[in-house]
């Protein structure tokens, strides 16, 4: 059951990411990125991270991707054109990414036995209470600092995107 769900949603993730890479129009890339993020939320649920699965759907596939599609539509972004720089990127990009992938895969699979196996038991489900118990006791100061960070980011975004007169 776990393996079947992992294969389905992991396959959806990889398919969406490849679609992001291959599509020429940014709005298609944005929509395939939403697929990737939503299936990642399912994978978080499979790993027992309940709160993060909800936050992934709300923050990533909700807020951030809506912002992306909004900007794409606002700027009326069309198809990207092929230029000389993109040929250089093909020559350097695909082999580099392939080397990175094969290295990571080799390292992870050669230590496969040392990493455990994850099943579908609710012993390891981390709810909101377990997360907030740590977040609001040991990590209260970083949590409050991030709220200041968000405030500064809002102010910066408004200042940057404002029309100058």
């Amino acid at each position: 059951m776990h393996l079947a769900l992992f294969i389905i949603f992991g396959g959806l993730c990889v398919a969406g990411a490849l679609n992001l890479l291959l599509q020429r129009h940014p709005i298609n890339s944005a929509l395939s990125l939403i697929v990737v993020m939503s299936s990642l939320a399912v994978l978080y649920l499979l790993l027992g991270a309940e709160f993060l699965a909800a936050a992934q759907v709300i923050v990533y596939s909700g807020a951030i991707m809506v912002l992306f599609t909004f900007v794409i539509m606002l700027l009326n972004a069309g198809k990207e054109e092929r230029t000389h720089g993109s040929k250089m990127a093909y020559v350097a990009g695909f082999p580099g990414a392939a080397i990175l992938l094969s290295l990571l895969t080799y390292i992870f699979l050669s230590h496969r036995a040392a990493f455990d196996q994850a099943g579908l038991d609710d012993k390891f489900v981390t709810g909101t209470s377990a997360l907030s118990a740590v977040l609001f006791s040991h990590l209260l100061l970083p949590f409050e600092v991030t709220s200041v960070l968000i405030l500064i980011a809002i102010l910066g975004a408004v200042a940057l995107a404002r029309k100058e007169h």
Binding site: L21, E81, F108, A118, V134
Partner: protein, 112 residues
């Protein structure tokens, strides 16, 4: 049962696709989206290792074993990614106003 290494391999695949998209894509918005893809891949690694640590801890101490540090890292990454997306898209809007293009090959000078 799925080996946790498979989750790590999946996140490696997603990260490599993100790197390739970052290098190959010419539209500045798509380049920014591939950065988000890489952040998501790293988040999956954090969650998988958090699960692994909980399971390792369960064998040592079956009463108090849940380890949430990795998930808290993911929480902070999400917060920072939200802030980064807002500021980055505002910068993209400002660039588009100044240059009237979204192609990264034509945005290669600091001055206007």
């Amino acid at each position: 049962m799925v080996p946790i290494a498979y989750y790590l391999v999946l996140s490696g695949i997603l990260f490599s696709i993100g790197v390739a998209a970052f290098l190959i894509k010419r539209n500045i918005i798509t380049v920014f989206m591939s950065i988000e893809l890489m952040l998501n891949a790293v988040n999956l690694t954090f969650v998988a290792f958090s699960r692994y640590w909980s399971q390792a801890q369960y064998r040592l101490n079956p009463t108090n074993y849940l380890q949430v540090n990795g998930q808290i890292f993911v929480f902070f990454v999400m917060v920072v990614a939200a802030a980064e997306a807002a500021v980055g898209l505002a910068i993209i809007i400002a660039i588009f106003r100044a240059r009237n293009t979204l192609n990264v090959d034509q945005i290669d000078l600091m001055k206007l």
